[in-house]
Symmetry: C2
Subunit: 294 residues, 2 copies
Amino acid sequence: MPITLPFKQLDVFTTVPYHGNPVAVINCLDISENDIDEKQMQNIARWTNLSETTFIFKPSNPENDYKLRIFSPVNELPFAGHPTLGSCKAFLQFTNNTTSKTVRQECGLGIVNLTVNEDGTISYKAASTSFDKIDPKVIKEYTECLGVKPDDEPLLLHVGPEWVVFHVSDSDKCYNANPDFAKLAEISKRNGHIGIILGGPRTLDPHIEYEMRALAPVINVSEDPVCGSGSTALIAYLQNKYKFDKTTKLKITQGGRVGRVGRIHSMIEINEAKQPSFHSGGNVISLINGEITV
Amino acid sequence: MPITLPFKQLDVFTTVPYHGNPVAVINCLDISENDIDEKQMQNIARWTNLSETTFIFKPSNPENDYKLRIFSPVNELPFAGHPTLGSCKAFLQFTNNTTSKTVRQECGLGIVNLTVNEDGTISYKAASTSFDKIDPKVIKEYTECLGVKPDDEPLLLHVGPEWVVFHVSDSDKCYNANPDFAKLAEISKRNGHIGIILGGPRTLDPHIEYEMRALAPVINVSEDPVCGSGSTALIAYLQNKYKFDKTTKLKITQGGRVGRVGRIHSMIEINEAKQPSFHSGGNVISLINGEITV
């Protein structure tokens, strides 16, 4: 028996319509998870053809706001950055909630804490991150394939996906790089990496404005227009490099090379124990509003 | 100044929701083409990430029903099969038209005549088709790359896109073929072909039920789930092969290898002068209904 549910398609990490990263969100707050099976959700996500389609359910624990299930066209994901921001905005709109300043999202990774900021942006605190060194031979291969040299040692960042962060000396070098995507896919696949986050500063001191690119041909996204997990990887890399000792906001520009106008509002938060946590956020615009028959 | 327009996303060539070929359709009947520029339409089509997004405008000539502009994520197209069927259904629904049996669509290719059939399917008459022979060396390369031998000479069909039709002796050979997509992309690109239509009969006599696959890695669609222009190419090939001398309906199954349940209702119409014309059609289901802000 087909059911009709509220639907939105939103644009994340931009203020310019159709120049951010899209996500489709289906409001399942009025049904139970038993009313729609995993296979149906997967089929819908394959059909929308977006990088992610999400389903908002009632939370398991009433202390949280909602439970989110996130599907790529081929599988379910425990977490994803821009879909979380888009789904939070959709949740607030679906429930006519204009007052909440904090939102708790249940998802495969656990609880994600979101903040609705004064300027209208929404941000999430990333789960714990860690990093590893990379075999110099692999770095050499990536360097040849990117055609641009890192100005500091690249690292493998574990932020959910396994991103290799390549820091170059300035934003133009980042923007102008012309990677060999076929070769990049081969190297990434062989090493179990999702791809490369290429980042370069716009301003040399303080180091707070960056151009970033997310190159992931191994998952058939040659270049992701605006990437939440990539921004977490980049700022975690920067914290390791610069050892910020107080809370620092960073602005990241992304997507120019694929015709987008992506703006990520990132923050490295330093607590009283001088431990960092990483936040990524941005604007979200709702562009398609209606109903979906499932 | 943003405007909000009626929006639908429909599933074409299937009766099973989310198992056909999707198209996004925007109703611009109440605005003029001057109110939305080509770049905006292109940006929206890039953002939906579907193979096609269409825009329905008032017709230039009142004898026609509407004018359609069709965009892929990267460019505007003069015509496309499944988007035409989806847009025709959307037009009828947007205008609450439940009585028309024929619809005239203006598009880049000219006028396309559509029929709303008794069984609820919609079909269109393809523009003129022609074919050419293919260099035997190229046929040999394609044969090696597909891993299955044609049982008759493959031909290059000009149906808008340039499809190479490969006819194999039975539907199982078609369904089970495992092409080398990287190699196929290289051969197609080098020869200026969009890809291969692989077809094999389910029934040997009469030759009216087919399994079909549309392999087009050169346009980043390794395998198109259900393909209108491909079905035109296949039946035009079959008319050349079998010389049907009376109007013949053919059923084409497609998409099984990519998890879809595609059904194309094709017809070779033979007129009094014994000239054939080619029709492709199928069911269309409207799955997302709402509004889009442009």
